[in-house]
Each structure stands twice: as C-alpha cells, then as structure tokens.
C-alpha cells in the first residue's frame, strides 16, 4: 500500500501500487499506481512514456502527441472528459479526466496513443507548425526568454520538448513512425490513476498494451541548436535571471531554499515580480531566480538578487525554515486538490525516480528539513557562480 502525501494530510484513505508482471510478452504497463478518491465519481488517468527523443530527432515525442491530439480530444469529449498532453524532460505524458464509470473507455483511448501513428503529410505539416509555434513561444515574452536561456545554460543536454528547427526538417511520416517505434516500450509506461477507481480495474485496463513494433530510426544524428538565442524581447520592465546548478543538493532542502529565497526577495523588492523555482528532472536539479523590475529600480534589483543567497544565510533561523517548509507542503496540497493535478504530482516523481513512493517520501522529507540542511544548501549555492541572464527594458519614447 502506498500512502501518498495527500492522504497523509487526510489521514485516512490510501493508494495502491501495482507493478504487473513485467515479461515483455504481457505488454503490460511498467507501473500502475492508484490513489482512491471516492468523493466524486471521476478519474484522472495519467499515462507517461519514459523516453528521450533519439539523437537528431528532438521533439519527436511531442510531435507524436500533437498528431494524436485531435482524435484523442474528440474521443474523450464523447464522455464529457478532458485531455491534456505534456512533454516534460523525463516523459511523454497524456492525461485524461472523465467519469470513473468510463474507466475502460478512457484507458482504451490512452492505449491507442501508443500505436505507431498513422499520419498523412498534411497532418504532419499541421503538427510541425504547432511545434514551431511552441518553440517560438518559448522566446516570445521576457519571462519565457529568461527561463529558456537559463535552462539552456544549466542543462545543455535538455533540448526544448518542441525540438529544434533542424530536427523538424527530418520528420517524414515514415521517420515519425519508426522513431516512435523505437521510443515506445511497454515497460516504460507508467500509469497513475486518481479518483473513484480500484487498483485491480486500472491494472486490468492497462494489462495489454499495444505491441512495440520494433524497428527504429535510420541513423543517429547530432541535434543542433542555434548558437545564439533569438534577440531579447521588447519588455517594459528589466528582467534578471540567475540559475544555480544544484544537482548535488538534497531535493527537499532545495525546495525549501527556493521558497525562502522567494520570500526574502519579495520582501526586499516589493515593487518587483519575483519567482524562484526548483527545477528537477532526470538531468539534474537547479534553482532559477527570475526578477522583473521597473527601469528605475533595476540596478537595485540586480544587486539584491545577486546578494540574496548571502543575505538569506545571515538572517536564517529555524522558525523561518519551519514556516517555509509548511508553506511548501500546503502549496503541494492545494495544487493537488484536483484529480488530474494530483496525478501529475505523483506522476512526475514516478517519471523522475521510477518509484511510486517517491512523492510520499518527498512530502515527508520537506517537513523534516531543518536549518542546518538549509544552510548546507545555501553554502553550496554561495560557492558557485550562477549563470546570469539579463533582458534590459526597452526605451520608450517620451509622450
């Protein structure tokens, strides 16, 4: 039995995990985890396929998602459901939400996405256009631009889920089918179900996944990304980004540090927007600080942001750590109050660590984070030079 962090808070219900027989002949999902929520008879099914895009074919997984999305949407709509696709650093993810009584139907819809995509040139062109728009959107606003640059510098191996202009040119219907055949393996499929369903039914629904058709792409190629990012976007405020590589930090302590840094900066920069994010993928961990300030306050915002780690260290105490840890846990609970979001939280841990208990453990570890652990993380951050990104404010004509 798996007692997820959400049920820890509630103290009663529990979730089940089942790892079905993993012989290739069974073609069953590699992992099925169920968190029962009997409050309302709906179910969120999150199915992830752990797979990296093959070298030279960045964006392949997300392209396949865009190809199947119109059909998926139409099928799920028949039962009043909803569907989401995401391509994270760790997995290709499909999430459907609908009535629990439609579990078998929804599971069937999800399973169908694992088959080699049948596509025409026209569908491929449409999907590629959507991917190109996504790639461009990453750089369109100052907030996206700063984050994309920080990610590229902290995790150079982690290309955009939407691929690259070079890889986009390599996709043909035949290439897409063969690349997907290489990426999809039943044992790499993880299913998280949250809602009014029993583990046995979910396990049964995902016990016979489509056979991997084998094959593979023609040859590995190098993914190439433009050496220089697009020019900075026009922004009325100045934007400052700092990225700390922190793969060696304890994840729970790093999450608490992110919260403390955010609170610290918001207190000192009340007129600026401040976000501090804990980035955590299979590639590693990082801490991203993104601050936007009016031109008049930009210099002060840069100084305060650059000195934040040191300043926080000098004002830290156990009480603040406890408050930050409690806030992180409450935020997690609030985010996960919808079945699809809870499935997302649990699923991200599964994708990253391959362990259905990881979310529960993390939630418990956050509560145990103490001042010494936070100081240790801050000391590591202070010892290294962060990557920095700066988007200056545009010069507006006098009116």
């Amino acid at each position: 039995m798996l007692s997820l962090f959400l049920t820890l808070a509630a103290g009663t219900a529990a979730a089940d995990t089942a790892s079905p027989p993993s012989r290739p002949a069974d073609a069953a999902a590699g992992m099925v985890a169920v968190h029962r929520q009997p409050a309302i008879p709906i179910v969120a099914l999150r199915m992830s396929v752990l797979a990296d895009d093959p070298p030279g074919y960045a964006g392949a997984g997300h392209l396949v998602q865009h190809l199947v999305l119109p059909t998926l949407r139409e099928q799920v709509r028949r039962v009043g459901g909803d569907v989401q696709i995401t391509r994270g650093a760790d997995a290709v993810v499909y999430t459907v939400v609908g009535p629990a009584s439609e579990l078998d139907y929804l599971a069937g819809v999800l399973r169908s996405t694992l088959r080699p995509p049948q596509l025409t040139e026209a569908q491929l062109v449409a999907a590629q256009r959507e991917l190109r728009d996504e790639r461009n959107a990453e750089w369109e606003t100052a907030a996206g631009h700063v984050r994309a640059l920080l990610r590229a510098r902290l995790f150079p191996e982690d290309l955009s889920p939407a691929g690259t202009p070079a890889s986009a040119e390599r996709f043909t219907p035949e290439v897409v089918r063969s690349v997907w055949a290489r990426m999809y393996q039943p044992e790499r499929v993880a299913v998280i179900a949250v809602g009014d369903v029993q583990v046995g039914r979910v396990q049964e629904a995902f016990s016979r996944l489509p056979d991997p058709s084998g094959g593979g792409y023609r040859e590995a190629m190098a993914d190439t990304v433009p050496a220089a990012p697009p020019v900075s976007p026009e922004a009325t405020r100045g934007w400052v980004g700092l990225g700390y590589s922190a793969s060696d930090a304890d994840p729970a302590a790093l999450t608490v540090v992110a919260r403390l840094l955010r609170d610290h900066l918001r207190e000192r920069l009340p007129s600026a927007s401040v976000e501090v994010e804990h980035w955590w993928t299979r590639q590693g961990q990082g801490l991203a600080v993104v601050v936007a300030a009016q031109p008049a306050g930009l210099a002060a915002a840069r100084r305060t942001t650059g000195a934040a780690v040191g300043a926080l260290t000098s004002t830290l105490n156990e009480e603040r750590v406890r408050a930050a840890a409690a806030a992180v846990r409450r935020d997690m609970l609030f985010y996960a109050r919808r079945p699809d979001r809870m499935a997302d939280v649990v699923g991200q841990f599964v994708d990253r660590q391959g362990d259905a208990n990881a979310a529960q453990r993390f939630y418990a570890e956050v509560e145990r984070v103490d001042e010494a652990e936070v100081r240790a993380v801050l000391a590591r951050l202070a010892d290294r030079t962060p990557v920095a990104v700066d988007v200056p404010p545009q010069r507006l004509p006098n009116r």
């Binding site: 808070a9 509630a10 039962v79 909803d82 009535p99 409450r330 609970l333 109050r337 919808r338």
Partner: protein, 409 residues
C-alpha cells in the same frame, strides 16, 4: 424583424414568478443551515459561506454596497490567510454573498476561524475601505465597457423589471461605488453580514463532529432571517438595445419553478447551445453558450449567442427553436444515452475541486433543496421523460438583443 411569435409575452408568467421570488428559502434552524461533508482522500478542506444579502438590501444609490462590504470585511485578513497558505475568494450573487475558503487540513480551522470572525465580529476598517473602493471602482469601469457585461445588465433589467433590485449588477456600478462611505459599509456589516442570514458547507478531510463544533459555534442559536425580495415584473419581450459593437449579442432567459429538475434543464441548455454553436452549417456564429442559475423558488435558463448584425433575426428565432424542439418530443433512447453520457462527464468534472463541491452544496442548501442531495444520483436518475418535462416546464422567455441594428438605417 425578430420572430416574436416564438417568444410569447413574458407577462403571462408573472403570477408564477411572483410565487417564485417572494418566498424565502425553507431553511430555518442554524443546524439545518450548516453541513459537513467529510471526504477522505481529498487534499484540502473547502468552506463555503453564503450570506443572504445583496442588491435587495441596497438602495439604488448604494448599488454595490453589499459586495464592497464583503471585500472590506475580508481585506484585513488576507495577509493572515496567505501566511496559512489559505485561499479566499469573494463572489457577489444576486441573492447572496459567497465566501470560498480553501486550506490545508492542518490550517483550515485557524483559517476558517479568521474568516468567520472577520465576517461576523470585526468592525469595518477605514484603510481597507479606501483601498477596496478604489480597486472595485477600477474593476467596474473595465467591466462596464464590455458588451457581455452590458448584455447581462440588459437581460437582468428585462427579466426582473425596471425597479427590481436584481436588475442592478450585484457588484454595483462604478458611479455608485465611488460614493459609498465607511459609515455605509459599517452599517451594512452590522445589519446584514450576520449569522442569521448565513448557510455554510465544509467539504474535505475533516473530522465531522469537530468541524460541526468549530463552524457551528459561529451560527449556533441564530434563527434564520429570511431576506425579502420583491416580485419581478418582467418587461415586454423582445427588447432591442442599441450598442456600439461590430457583433450582435442575443440572450433568451427561460424561468422555471422549483419543481422542475434543474439538471434536466441544464441538459436542455447544453444541447440547445450545441445546436447553435459554430459549425459547418453555422459558420457565422461567434459564440453560443447556456447557463442555469438556481435561486430560492426556482431558477432561470439563459441561452446566449453572438452573431453578425445582419443575421440577428434569423438567429434569434433559432434560439427559440433550439430550446423548444426538446419540448416537442422525447429524445430517442439511443440519442438520449449518448447525450447524457457526455453531459454527465461535463457536470462531474465541474465538481472536480473541493471548493466547487462546497459551492454547489451550499447553493442547494440555500435554495432549499438540501445539500445532502447528490448530483451523482440526480444525473444517474435522469431520463428522457424528465428532459421532455423540463423543456415543457420552461416558461416564456424574455429576449434581449444588443448591438447595431442595420435594418434601422
């Protein structure tokens, strides 16, 4: 010309409406006005508090006073709630103010105590008054420029009549809100923000007896004070209002009584809106949707469409046809099952958060149908006969058209 034959005069349903709105919810004891729904496995606790006050307790010059009072009352506690990781939203309905609080299980008691003390015991704060009045005024100026908001105002005026308090937006007007004073707010808090007018629902992973004891302490012993709302006097329909836009907005409001199955009405509305929505044979429809509003004594189905001005007459008629066809004959079993399958999923998903479930339960409690009734049961029991009966029970619509009228040139 608008095909008026499809929309019989609204005055014919006046006697029924008099009955609908002149009565108060049938909830009397404090115990009956508070429900706890334990939900093991849900990650947070939601508290919905509905206070039965609104435009009916304001003069026309005070429009927006109830909503401003609600915002002023909770403004001083926002920082405390933030520190607890709790989330609070305030909504102004025609017949009630809604306060929705969501908090982690370890913080909900403190957060809800903070809210209930602020609502029922704290006096109005002058700094909050100045800030909230300025913020609300700015929001209203933005809203008043929207054609959707203008349509809602005109439909309300048509449905309830020129002098009825519900003809006014529950949030008021920018021009009335800017003149409200601390004394207005303070008086309103003392008179109308009271436990005697309150219903509350708690949903989430709570101990039922502890939750009852905790929230019940704020409501205990307070007899229900039924708010009095005058009977509406709908205007003659259709109503055409000139509005400076490039599209025309049409709304049809169908009142229904308390005996009518609200879920069946909702299904009729959804299906009618689908028949009017953009599609291969309806390329000129920009938007179409429906909504059901429940109030003590019944409710209202509103169907809206947005179309090009030159096509307004045709589309206005088609709203009536889209709704009335469900009153003409029963859906076949196969068609009904297919439609119900989709409707059921959509409705269940609308309740996918604890706060949505708390809001729905509080509304049921407020309108007098009881929060213990289950939406799931209502959906599972729905059949084609009920849909037919609901469509037939819809009263004559009030029709409002807003936009440029090219045929007047």
């Amino acid at each position: 010309m608008i095909r008026e034959s499809l929309f019989r005069a609204g005055r014919r349903c006046l006697p029924a409406l008099l009955l609908l709105f002149a009565t108060a919810p049938g909830i009397l004891s404090a115990q009956d006005r508070f429900v706890v729904r334990p939900e093991p496995g849900t990650s947070v606790v939601a508290l919905e508090v509905l206070v039965a006050t609104g435009p009916a307790d304001e003069t026309p010059e005070q429009a927006g006073l109830a909503y401003l009072t609600a915002r002023v009352a909770v403004a001083p506690i926002r920082r405390t709630l933030d520190a607890l990781g709790a989330h609070l939203t305030v909504q102004a309905h025609k017949d009630a103010l809604g306060f929705t609080l969501t908090a982690a299980p370890d913080a909900w008691m403190e957060a809800s105590r903070t809210l209930l003390v602020a609502l029922f015991r704290d006096p109005a704060d002058s700094l909050s008054m100045i800030r909230e009045r300025a913020a609300l005024r700015a929001e209203l100026i933005g809203r008043e420029a929207s054609p959707a908001d203008a349509l809602a105002r005109d439909v309300d005026a048509a449905v309830f009549g020129g002098e009825h308090p519900w003809r006014r937006p529950a949030a008021g007007y920018s021009t009335t809100v800017e003149k409200l004073t601390l004394s207005d707010v303070d008086g309103f808090i003392r008179t109308y923000l009271v436990p005697e007018r309150t219903v509350a629902v708690v949903v989430g992973p709570v101990d039922p007896s502890g939750a009852r004891e905790h929230v019940g302490a704020f409501l205990r012993g307070a007899p229900w004070q039924a708010p009095r709302v005058p009977a509406p006097e709908p205007l003659d329909s259709p109503i055409r209002q000139e509005y400076n836009s490039i599209t025309t907005w049409v709304a049809a409001s169908y009142p229904f009584s308390a005996e009518v199955d609200a879920e069946a009405v909702r299904l009729v509305g959804m299906l009618a809106a689908e028949e009017l929505s953009f599609g291969p044979s309806r390329r000129s429809v920009y938007n179409a949707h429906s909504e059901v509003v429940r109030r003590p004594g019944g409710g209202e189905l509103r169907v809206h469409i947005v179309v090009p001005p030159r096509e307004v007459d045709a589309w206005t008629g088609r709203i009536g046809e889209a709704v009335s066809r469900f009153a003409d004959r029963k859906l076949s079993d196969a068609v009904f099952r297919e439609r119900l399958r989709r409707f059921r999923g959509v409705r269940l998903r609308e309740l996918d958060t604890p706060e949505a479930r708390a809001q729905a339960a509080a509304r049921e409690l407020f309108v007098g149908t009881g929060a213990e009734g289950s939406l799931v049961d209502a959906l599972d029991e729905l059949d084609a006969e009920q849909v037919l009966a609901a469509a037939r029970a819809l009263r004559s619509p009030t029709l409002v058209v807003l936009g440029p009228f090219l045929d007047d040139d």
